[in-house]
Amino acid sequence: MTRYLLLLVLAALAGIAQANGADDQNPLAKDTKAAKAGEYEFRINCALCHGLGAHGGGRGPDLTRAQKKHVHSDAEMFQVISSGIPGTAMPSNGTNGQGVGMTDEEIWQIITYLHSVEVKAPAKPNGNVARGKELFYGDANCSLCHMVEGKGGRLGPELTSVGSSRTREAIIDSVRHPSRHLAWGLTESTKEFPQEYETITVVTTDGKKIKGVALNEDSFSVQMMDSSEQIYLLEKDKLRSFSKNRESIMPTYTPDLLSDKDLDDVIAFLTSVGAK
């Protein structure tokens, strides 16, 4: 009986806490001065990952999109900025002793700023989702190397959520100029830099040449995958040669290979999947 009462009390308390969270309104909403202060706070504390102007960086998603993956209200956004997102690179930023320690007011300023730069999704997407899906898994050959919702290849980055975390411009850039910014791969917990999708070419002692992407690398070993999705675990001092470069193994999709219209369709497909 006592235990049952305790549970009831706990449930009631949890309910109150949740109600408080849900009722959390931004006290600085639509305050233009707060938005300006928030812009500077953002540059100092957030832009390193989310890019100048919140358009997304290598690590953090584009925050100018009205629809965000982890956040559906100002209260949730406050929570995410303050406490971070477990399992992602997003750290806690509130005054809890870790990271930069922003005050509640500063966090609200940032939220106000983000709303001021938000871009509403166009009412009608540019491309045709169904045709984009056909292209992705068919003629455009994207799925030879990229996986979406469990279907596709393994050599390139998985793209299920790319439509929700990257701008249209960023996706176009990485299709048209894949080597300009190599995608980030494995991120180790205390390591400063993630592994990038660098291209590795090795020759083994028996003369076999292997070309593929780096899964991971250190001074003494390399873990790589070739285009047939074979994984190689190699010790550098046992190789005849080792070289890496920042020319992506992904082909450059010029408009001859993939027209602007086809690309629009592929992006429409990725955006529709990312929005789920």
Binding site: G101, H181, F193, F220
Partner: protein, 546 residues
């Protein structure tokens, strides 16, 4: 809690011997005596003469000169390839582990995140005691809840805490002997540095340059915790150097002192480096040189009075703290002090006068293409951050940072972890508010810049020439150890601990520790066996010969 089994065995052994002869009894007593002095206290004389007990690692940098050089040579260039892991101690702490352990007579003392401290059996890694401070929930460490180590003197080790206290911990039990408040942590003051014990003083420098603190270096009576002196690194009204600050900017001028200095017993001077002026990357409102930010200070150890100062980066706008460990180097009758600075230049000074002897580039720099009459690199006008932002090298993290360098008197080379990285520096006006981050700026990795590169570089201090460099897969935060075995040890961001040939930089051995390295290695010996230890991930590792 000693091993009773071992005591019983000793007793049996004792009775055996007693039956033999009284002479033998004297031998046993001599052994017992040896066991007792093994726990002798660390005196100032021992710290001054640390070279006479190479089995121990008595200060942050191994000795007062700061050179992080071990005279041990049992592990050497011939046998390093056979090294094996001896033990691992898991701290269970999260974040960056930046500690440098101390080793005294078989006991290893170290720290971990959130102001943990612990003592281990240095042969086995088994803990003897563990301490963790109950920190308030609203501390303000700028850059992780880190700590870089302890100082030891008498029967106490000394810890600077993230809530800006200095505490003394009993070496045998982990009990707190005294607890002194240095500053108000709610205003952004904290300690992350390993203190330096000198005479009967515990010398320590404050962190908080990102919060607009007024920096200081303190000295506490090691026995009682009473503060004996304080040197403010930002001079107040009426003090020399005050005129280098615009208006009231000195009150929040920063110039923290968050890395361990060195000590010259011959002149009784402490050499302590200082950090960036605040706000770190925006100079508006603090016109002037901003003394004594980004400087090396020579202070009288007894009084804290300044004998000389040398400012590496005047009126800094790039967060280039000059807090790197300065190493004393003697060559003939020349008494020098050298620092590989965060701004990308390697400086050698005359340590009796503070006069510059040389300043040479050791990493990718674009901020200075000329020098003043003294030979000090001067910032180009166009290196200043702008609102739109533009690229400057090195980036805000610097060519090097807090990672401890080493100097090997046998090779006469200075070893330092370096990175080539450029950043876009942009201003972001921000008013000062007590206890809040106060950068006034923003920096980002430059999109157009090449990928960052990390190295271990061996610099000849006589010429500034880089004799060799070892390139890491990515930049590392590991410090460096050099040993009389002709070895240089360092760690990498990928989790490797690496032994290199000190003369050539050739990798001789490595071990994958499973976590990035943010700490610096040490060497010690127990029972005549040499060990090399380093922290990585959230653990402390010890290695030795099979």
């Amino acid at each position: 809690m000693r091993d009773h089994g071992q005591c019983d065995a000793e007793m049996l052994f004792f009775h055996e011997i007693l039956r033999w002869s009284t002479n033998a009894l004297l031998v046993v007593l001599a052994f017992s005596f040896a066991a007792t002095i093994a726990y002798a206290q660390v005196t100032f004389e021992r710290l001054v003469n640390s070279g006479k007990e190479p089995q121990n690692w008595l200060t942050y940098s191994g000795d007062y000169s700061g050179r992080r050089f071990s005279p041990l040579d049992q592990i050497n260039a011939t046998n390093a390839h056979s090294m094996v892991a001896k033990w691992v101690y898991q701290t269970a702490a999260t974040g960056k582990l930046e500690t440098t352990p101390l080793v005294v007579d078989g006991i290893l003392y170290a720290t971990a995140q959130d102001d943990r401290a612990f003592a281990l059996d240095a042969r086995t890694g088994r803990p003897i005691w563990m301490y963790q401070r109950q920190l308030p929930g609203d501390i303000r460490p700028c850059c992780g809840r880190v700590n870089r180590g302890l100082a030891i003197l008498g029967d106490k080790v000394f810890l600077g805490t993230l809530d800006a206290h200095v505490i003394a911990i009993d070496t045998k039990t982990g009990n707190v002997a005294w607890d002194a408040v240095a500053a108000d942590y709610q205003k952004g003051y904290s300690f992350t540095v390993a203190p330096l014990a000198v005479k009967n003083l515990v010398v320590i420098g404050v962190s908080g340059g990102e919060y607009g603190v007024r920096g200081f270096i303190d000295a506490y009576d090691a026995t009682t915790g009473t503060r004996k002196w304080r040197f403010y690194t930002v001079p107040g009204p009426g003090e020399p150097g005050h005129e280098t600050w615009e208006g009231d900017s000195w009150k929040v001028g920063g110039a923290p002192a968050w890395n361990t200095g060195t000590y010259d017993p011959a002149t009784n001077q402490i050499f302590w480096p200082t950090g960036n002026p605040a706000p770190s990357n925006r100079s508006e409102g603090r016109a002037g040189d901003n003394l004594y930010s980004n400087s090396l200070l020579a202070l009288n150890a007894d009084t804290g009075q300044m004998n000389w100062s040398f400012q590496f980066t005047k009126h800094d706008e790039h967060d280039w703290d000059a807090t790197q460990v300065p190493i004393m180097i003697d060559s003939g009758n020349k008494h020098m002090i050298a620092q590989a600075n965060r701004n990308g230049f390697f400086y050698v000074l005359d340590r009796s006068t503070g006069k510059l002897i040389s300043a040479t580039v050791y990493g990718k720099t674009t901020w200075s293409d000329h020098k003043d009459a003294e030979g000090r690199p001067v910032a180009n006008k166009e290196a200043s951050p702008t609102l739109a932002g533009h690229t400057v090298c090195p980036g805000a993290l610097g060519t090097t940072n807090f990672m401890a360098p080493a100097y090997d008197p046998k090779t006469s080379l200075f070893y330092v972890t370096a990175r080539d990285q450029c950043d876009i520096f942009s201003t972001a006006p921000q008013p000062y508010e007590a206890g809040h981050a106060y950068y006034g700026s923003a920096y980002f990795p430059s999109d157009e810049a090449e990928p960052y590169r990390g190295f271990l570089k061996a610099i000849d201090p006589a010429t500034g020439e880089i004799k060799w460099k070892f390139e890491h897969t990515s930049p590392t935060w590991s410090g460096v150890l050099s040993t009389a075995g002709g070895l240089v040890f360092t760690g990498d961001a990928e989790g490797n601990f690496i032994a290199l040939d000190a003369a050539t930089g050739k990798a001789l051995w490595h071990f994958q520790m499973g976590g990035a390295v943010y700490a610096a290695p040490i060497a010690f010996a127990v029972d005549g066996k040499e060990y090399v230890a380093i922290a990585a991930g959230s653990a402390v590792y010890a290695f030795g010969l099979p």
